[in-house]
């Protein structure tokens, strides 16, 4: 029988980056005594070191809070945290699908931003009840009245009794808890119906295997039951079920309709319990899975190589470990003539790429060289076949290509109107097509562009931020493939093709880009014993050329008794320097040269 679960509330917190989502989550934990004060680290829910540093949530997590409300009842509040970045949109959407409502935080100094809107639309798509909260009222620049007006005007949410709080100081945070109990609807479900639960996150644990985070829609699951993943068909014996507490897992032995909880079942890899999949129970199986599952595919690819070839195995192991916890990360072995043995890795987006790279370098202490990120191109060959390539090295001979398609992104940029000019110039330069431009308030404009994904994966966001002094915000989603006139640029040093530096680019931009790459290489590769020609070519045709002159003078003229130690130290320093170089035939290229090409900003 379908019944209301009066004392449960399932909700998440959505916000633009830096609007205080994690800080509010921490305060809620404190207020419900979920965490002893002494265990309270700042931003408890973001438990990766990197997340703390970057101030963003990478993985979703959930926690159950017990709250004794003013009406005298104790409520089970399930807070489901959502990742705060466009790369993780799918995970956000699954987390929201597990909720019945959401707290929308808006920064009282900044107002509505791109992700405020994007997340609001996502929440509305899932029919969530939205509870607006105005945060950071302790800041001198706070203007809650204006921001409330903004939210009402732009989003259409009534803000009259929106709690005005400071998550940082804790001011008025209790009001948020009361709002959750009062305004967010309780879940409904049938404890006896076939079991059906949505996976909104899964985490690998060394002892328990994968911990699957679920929202139960219908039915009951107990330890010892046999569960089944509906997308993969894999079955497992349930070991533990229960609630997530802030500091530990609470094994309750049973999960019922409406609840949010975890399951462990000796699952070996998160790829067997992917986000979005439906868990059911063998014996009382659901007829249909829950809607919305999709396998997320990597959008951005790059080669990752150990700076020291001896670290290949270590890199492989590290990637395997990260993949246990990150079903969206893909990798396969790749060999580059220039960089040796490494891996072609696929990511959801650039942030995802950067995070993985940083984790490899920090947590696994690996020194990496990465190649230029690439998107997936569809190459239509003259014989009618279509190949998808994510690595410029595999770009076919132009003679056998009929045409090429590239992925496009539908992008919204929100900005104060004074930056419209520079934003349009930037988008135009990135081959964008203006779709629409709308004033969403007197000081906020929504500029809607269609942009090729390969123009935004690398440094678009940085360029946007620097040109608008940080005021513009940006959000995009993919919108299919379009035919485009693309070419591959090859870099040759001393006549040798450096495959790791090959680059796919729109033909109109090929010449200026080629010249810039040549210049950058010339500036960043130190003079060596020999003269080194730097050539940039399309097919066999060289379109830009520079020469790195041979070193002429590097000598210690005097070397007597006291100079010998000095000279030895110089030699040691030279050796250290060489370690940071990559040998290409006779040419030594410092890692900085790779970086310089990656960071080829068009303003310089």
């Amino acid at each position: 029988m379908r019944q209301k679960k009066e004392h449960i509330r399932n909700f998440s917190i959505i916000a633009h980056i830096d609007h205080g989502k994690s800080t509010l989550a921490d305060r809620l934990l404190e207020l419900t005594d979920s965490v002893a004060k002494r265990d309270m680290q700042q931003q408890l829910l973001d438990n990766m070191e990197l997340e703390k540093e970057r101030g963003i949530t990478i993985k979703a997590r959930a926690v159950t809070l017990d709250y004794k409300a003013h009406d005298g009842n104790t409520y089970e509040l399930n807070l489901i945290d959502t990742p705060g970045h466009v790369d993780f949109n799918y995970e956000v959407s699954r987390s929201l699908a597990a909720c019945d409502g959401a707290i929308l935080i808006v920064d009282a100094t900044q107002g509505v931003e791109a992700q405020t809107l994007a997340n609001t639309y996502l929440a509305l798509e899932h029919d969530l009840e939205l509870v607006p909260v105005i945060n950071k009222i302790d800041l001198p620049a706070a203007d809650p009245d204006r921001v409330c007006a903004d939210v009402e005007e732009i989003i259409g949410l009534d803000c009259e009794d929106a709690p005005r709080i400071s998550a940082k100081t804790g001011q008025n945070v209790e009001a948020v808890l009361e709002k959750i109990v009062r305004d967010i609807p309780c879940p409904e479900g049938d404890d006896d119906a076939p079991f059906k639960a949505l996976v909104f996150d899964s985490v690998y644990d060394n002892y328990k295997g994968v911990i699957v985070y679920v929202r139960v829609m219908d039915g009951t699951l107990r330890s010892g039951d046999t569960m089944k993943m509906m997308a993969t068909g894999a079955t497992f014996t349930v070991v533990e079920v229960g609630h997530m507490r802030a500091m530990s897992l609470e094994n309750t032995g049973v999960l019922k309709a409406g609840e949010v909880g975890y399951i462990t079942a000796s699952i070996k890899s998160v790829s067997e319990a992917r986000v979005g999949d439906t868990v059911t129970k063998v014996g009382n199986e659901a007829a249909e899975p829950l809607p919305g599952y999709k396998k997320v595919n990597p959008m951005v690819f790059c080669g990752l190589y150990p700076a020291d070839g001896a670290d290949y195995e270590a890199l492989k192991e590290a990637l395997e470990k990260l993949q246990l916890n990150d079903a969206a990360l893909s990798f396969e072995p790749e060999t580059s003539g220039a960089l040796g043995f490494g891996f072609r890795c696929g990511f959801l987006g650039l942030l995802h790429l950067e995070i993985i790279q940083e984790r490899l370098e920090r947590e696994y202490d690996l020194d990496l060289v990465s190649t230029v990120p690439s998107v997936v191109y569809k190459i239509h060959l003259s014989d009618g076949r279509v190949v998808e390539i994510d690595n410029p090295t595999n770009y076919p001979d132009p003679a056998v290509i009929d045409y090429v398609e590239e992925p496009m992104a539908d992008a919204h940029i929100y900005s104060p109107p004074e930056y419209i000019g520079v934003i349009m110039a930037l988008c135009q330069d990135r081959r964008g097509t203006l779709k629409d431009q709308q004033y969403i308030s007197s000081d906020r404009v929504d500029i809607h562009y269609k942009l090729p994904l390969n123009e935004i994966i690398y440094d678009f966001f940085d360029a946007l931020k620097s040109r608008t002094r940080g005021y513009a915000s940006f959000d995009y989603e993919l919108c299919g493939y379009e035919r485009s006139n693309l070419v591959k640029l090859d870099v040759l040093l001393n006549g040798d093709l450096i495959d790791a530096l090959s680059y796919i680019i729109h033909s109109e931009k090929a010449y200026p880009r080629a010249r810039k790459i040549a210049e950058k290489l010339k500036d960043n590769i130190p003079r060596q014993m020999f003269e080194i020609p730097v050539q940039i070519a399309i097919g066999g045709k060289v379109i830009a050329r520079e020469t790195i002159k041979a070193m002429r003078k590097d000598v210690l003229a005097k070397c007597y008794g006291g100079d010998i130690t000095r000279k030895k130290k110089l030699l040691e320093k030279q050796k250290e320097g060489k370690k940071r170089m990559r040998q290409f035939g006779t040419v030594e290229v410092p890692q900085e040269a790779f970086m310089a090409i990656l960071k080829l900003d068009d303003q310089t």
């Binding site: 014993m529 002429r552 000598v555 008794g561 030895k568």
Partner: protein, 388 residues
């Protein structure tokens, strides 16, 4: 490169270097340790005499000096001539009283033309046993000398060389600097002509390097230094010019008539041992390096030398030997140090050879003049490919 040690004893004999840290003025390019004025010369001479006596008896250097004769003595600075021929003679006497000098030992003193114009100066030195003089000329061109802070004139240099030769010291070396402000290829050649006309047997030609903390370092931008390419061309034409005049280019910066190599300095490049006395002087004895701190007062008060770690090893030997025109022999390296070069060595050396940076006959490897110009990097590369 020669065998430095034989089993059971030391084969090659150490040299003695005495650092005389006094000058009449500080030259704008110089970063050697030196003080202006003669104020503490007496205390200094007493301290050197004292150290010569005690170092061989007690302390960390004693073992390396025990029962070893001395092959060369070198007084450098600073400006040794600035303290006067009497003081220098007294110091040399102190050396002889405490150490056995080999018959025919090379005994060199660095002089500056102006302070050696005192009548009888070179006669006193010759009488004391000095048999080689190194004169700091730097340039024979007035404008360049002025920029370098040299007070004497070219005529003074000529007078000093003549006086030295008349006193019977005919092994004379002149210092010349390359790449100094205002210098051109023709002004350099005129300096060389002048030097050769004086009949000297040795020339040291140093590429100017701007050392941190010197006056030139602070005024770097206002110096009007010749371009790097021009300086390299000057070096190459100097090498050619001296070769045509019968000089052997035996080390990166050193040239001599046959048989007139500076033996004391050559020992450094053969990685042989030496005792250094005086503030900022370095020693290399019994396989370890030491130095006296750059502090005259500390030296006078008897502060002992500081340990500077181990010396020797194949890398050091190769690094130094490649400065010489005799270069290195792979076979010798293998025999002495048991280091077998990597198999890729010949192919890589071949590339450098085609680029005109070295010559390699399958065993012996020497740098060319163009190779000398990039020797810091090149030697590093060679050591890298020798490393098995």
């Amino acid at each position: 490169m020669r065998l430095r040690r034989m089993e059971g004893g030391l084969l090659n004999l150490p040299g003695i270097y005495i650092h005389v840290p006094f000058c009449s003025a500080k030259c704008p390019y110089c970063d050697f340790y030196s003080l202006v004025g003669r104020e503490k010369t007496d205390a200094y001479c007493a301290a050197v005499t004292d150290e010569l006596k005690t170092l061989r008896r007690v302390g960390p250097l004693a073992d390396g000096l025990k029962d070893r004769d001395i092959s060369t003595v070198y007084f450098g600075g600073g400006t040794p001539s600035f303290v006067g021929a009497e003081n220098l003679s007294r110091l040399l006497r102190a050396v002889k009283e405490n150490y056995v000098l080999l018959p025919g030992a090379e005994i060199t003193v660095e002089c500056n033309p102006s302070s050696s114009l005192v009548p009888g100066f070179f006669e006193t030195l010759a009488a004391a046993g000095f048999n080689r003089v190194s004169l700091g000329m730097q340039s024979a061109v007035g404008a360049e000398r002025k920029k370098l802070g040299r007070r004497a004139t070219a005529a003074d240099v000529e007078t000093a060389v003549k006086a030295c030769q008349q006193a019977g010291i005919t092994d004379i070396s002149l210092d010349i600097m390359l790449g100094v402000p205002e210098q051109t290829e023709s002004s350099l050649l005129s300096s060389l002509d002048f030097a050769l006309s004086l009949g000297v047997t040795h020339l040291s030609a140093y590429l100017l390097s701007i050392e941190e903390g010197t006056f030139f370092d602070k005024k770097r931008d206002a110096l009007n230094l010749p371009e790097e390419d021009a300086v390299c061309d000057m070096y190459l034409s100097l090498c050619g010019y001296l070769k045509n005049n019968g000089f052997r280019h035996y080390e990166i910066s050193n040239f001599c008539l046959p048989g007139h190599e500076a033996r004391h300095n050559t020992a450094y490049w053969r990685d042989e041992e030496y005792l250094g006395v005086g503030p900022a002087a370095h020693s290399y004895l019994n396989g370890r390096r030491f130095y006296f701190p750059r502090d005259l007062d500390a030296f006078i008060s008897g502060m002992p030398p500081v340990d500077d770690g181990p010396g020797g090893g194949w890398e050091e030997a190769v690094m130094l030997a490649l400065r010489l025109d005799t270069g290195i022999s792979l076979q010798e390296i293998k025999e002495i140090f048991a280091v077998a070069p990597s198999p890729s060595l010949p192919a890589i050396l071949q590339q450098y050879q085609s680029a005109g940076l070295l010559t390699f006959d399958g065993d012996r490897l020497t740098l060319t003049e163009r190779g000398f110009l990039v020797s810091n990097t090149l030697i590093g590369e060679i050591i890298d490919v020798i490393t098995p």
